[in-house]
Symmetry: C2
Subunit: 115 residues, 2 copies
DNA sequence: CTTTCATATGAGCAATCGTTCATATGTATT
DNA sequence: AATACATATGAACGATTGCTCATATGAAAG
């Protein structure tokens, strides 16, 4: 008896090519989680601050005119995504950017929206 | 009478440098809106499909194992962000990628998560 | 050890998001 | 015109998000 093809509208060849390049479930999850982090203007502003200088939490809060708590929550998100590092100096904790992908990703995004 | 400085923890010089490079309110909004679009694995999967081939809505739906409605809603989001184009051919509408930033942004994201 | 300053964290709330379901729009075929 | 097919869209739902508020942790100074 005939086996029905899984796809009717798409060439089987195309299906195979797509399946070859499609990232796995876990990679897709991690990738979308990463971009979610960039998907908030407060977090983007924090990253732009850190482009210029390492800074403590209350410094960032002052500069952006937001509460310490709000900034701390967002830094936790950036930290979890490994976009920022931190070091302790006495009572103060200084945050800094962890790598260059941050800048590249933001620059590419900026290019897209300004064309 | 002495004017109190606006910021206590941050050097005035740093404040100025940050204000110079910080994108304006509208740019920040657009930028975060753009990255929100990448922040969903269904939309990322659609983009990966379109890397391989232009495709109709029901084709994408079949390939990804999702409903036509769900895909159509997400394509509307991608369309609004100008990440995809479309052309009509009879009853069918074919979607395709609109520019190369999509690939660069996804590649940079992938580099970040796989290191 | 108590106080103070810097930061982190948990609960709660309004707002936003992604999907489903039902239905509307639009194009070709008869 | 009537039907069929491809796509779009609006309402509704549970889930997630970003902030606030109150409080906890942690380090230095007294």
């Amino acid at each position: 008896m005939d086996q029905q093809p899984a796809y009717n509208h798409v060439h089987e060849e195309t299906v195979q090519r797509v399946n070859e390049i499609m990232p796995g479930e876990e990679e897709l999850f991690d990738l979308s989680e990463l971009f979610k982090v960039f998907g908030d203007s407060t977090r983007i502003r924090i990253l732009y601050v850190l482009f210029e200088s390492d800074m403590c939490v209350c410094g960032i809060a002052e500069l952006l005119g937001m509460t310490q708590s709000a900034i701390s929550h967002q830094l936790a998100v950036l930290k979890k995504a490994k976009l920022v590092r931190y070091r302790r100096e006495g009572k103060t904790i200084f945050y800094s950017l962890s790598d260059d992908h941050v800048r590249t990703i933001l620059d590419q995004g900026m290019e897209h929206i300004t064309e």
